[in-house]
């Protein structure tokens, strides 16, 4: 403030002599202009000055370090000086609210711009990397936790004989299962002896985040028709990541409240030919996302008048991995009647045949 007053007394015009980028900007210090001017007049005893002008100057002068103000008084070109005082002044430049950006010569502006661009790109790259981590690991953690909760709920409901979880009850509980609720376990021994997931109702995004989801219009486990499930290939617990290793004859076991249903992937187990089944339905196929026929009651048959005579199972997931370009489809057919859980406390033989 002291130098401020001196300047206004003695060399009031000096600000106007300075280069344009050194000239005071509009007051940004929040002082009421009138109060500031009064203070100035009282202390300095100088001639009356228009109230606005000193207020502006005082705002400017408070913001600028003494050193740079001294430097700015001589009229030499400012390029060398600006480069020589980088650290004290770059804080002004980083804050666009002040007039700091205009303090810099053009070369420095370019450098600032390039640095900003570089930092932005690096930040973007880090965010993308973090997203990959999220997709591959974090969603797995979330889904695993949710699967454990679903398992507990399902077992509890079965013990309590909850009627809303009775897909194999007379009358069919199909429409009674709320979307997102677990209602069965799926086990695929070929994907590991410990491979088990809770199957939830529905194929909404939320439902599929929790586990393999049941197409609501498709048959229920063991029913004639096509019990169809969708599951994530990568992330969200990756339930169907290795669906492509399933071979003809591999078992898919569905456990409901009181029954085990064993489905077997279609095709010839001896030759590994997926297309060998007499029904013409392939054990594995790769289709476009629009090919909804794969989940029809008879897979691939677009004719509602034909009543299905077999109980099929269809698994759908994306293909190739990390892409939504196509769909990988597995078809299986029920192998024998459902086995009552009461008679097979250790699970059906298909679980231990490998």
């Amino acid at each position: 403030m002291r130098t401020d007053r001196m300047r206004v007394d003695g060399r009031e015009d000096s600000d106007l002599d300075r280069p344009i980028w050194e000239q005071p900007a509009a007051s940004d210090d929040g002082y009421p202009a009138g109060a500031d001017a009064t203070q100035y007049l009282d202390v300095a005893n100088g001639p009356p000055v228009p109230a606005v002008a000193p207020a502006r100057r005082s705002g400017r002068h408070q913001a600028v370090p003494e050193k740079s103000r001294l430097g700015s008084r001589d009229d030499e070109p400012s390029a060398g000086r600006d480069q020589a005082r980088p650290s004290s002044h770059s804080s002004d430049a980083a804050d666009p609210a002040t007039n700091g950006a205009r303090d810099r010569p053009r070369g420095s502006l370019v450098r600032t711009g390039i640095r900003g661009l570089g930092q932005t790109l690096i930040t973007g790259g880090l965010i993308v990397l973090l997203f990959v981590v999220y997709e591959l690991f974090i969603t797995d953690l979330m889904t695993d936790q949710r699967q454990e909760e679903l398992t507990d709920e399902l077992v509890q409901n079965w013990e309590n004989d909850d009627p809303t979880l009775g897909p194999d009850l007379p009358g069919g509980g199909l429409s009674q299962i709320p979307i997102g609720d677990g209602f069965a376990f799926i086990r695929i021994p070929a994907l590991g002896a410990d491979y088990v997931r809770v199957v939830v109702e529905g194929t909404t995004t939320d439902a599929l985040t929790q586990g393999p989801g049941h197409y609501v219009d498709s048959a229920m486990p063991g029913e004639l028709g096509n019990f169809s499930l969708a599951g994530h290939r990568t992330g969200k617990g990756s339930p169907f990541i290795d669906l492509d290793v399933l071979a003809p004859g591999d078992a898919v076991v569905i456990e409901t409240g009181d029954t085990y249903f064993t489905y077997r992937v279609l095709g010839d187990p001896a030759t590994g030919d997926f297309g060998a089944d007499a029904s013409g339905i392939p054990g594995q196929q790769i289709v476009s996302p629009q090919d909804v026929e794969v989940v029809y009651p008879i897979p691939g048959v677009d004719d509602a008048t034909i009543v299905p005579t077999s109980a099929y199972l269809t698994l759908t997931t994306c293909h190739p991995k990390f892409s939504n370009e196509q769909r990988l489809i597995i078809h299986a057919v029920l192998d024998g009647p459902g086995l009552p859980k009461a008679e097979y406390p250790d699970g059906p033989p298909a679980l231990t045949e490998n």
Binding site: Q119, E135, T203, A230, H232, F240, T316, C318, F322, N324
Partner: protein, 51 residues
Amino acid sequence: MYVWIWRTLPGGLPGKLVGSALLIAAISALLLFLVFPWIEPSLPFNDITVE
């Protein structure tokens, strides 16, 4: 931006390190648990149904 954050963080070098770690953790958590779950359904990685 990073220069500005580093200079703004208080507490000398230890304080700046702790502050940086906290900032990174907070921003990561924000992204992982709010932003990504929110933005993910609109990205083409997870369409697994036929429709």
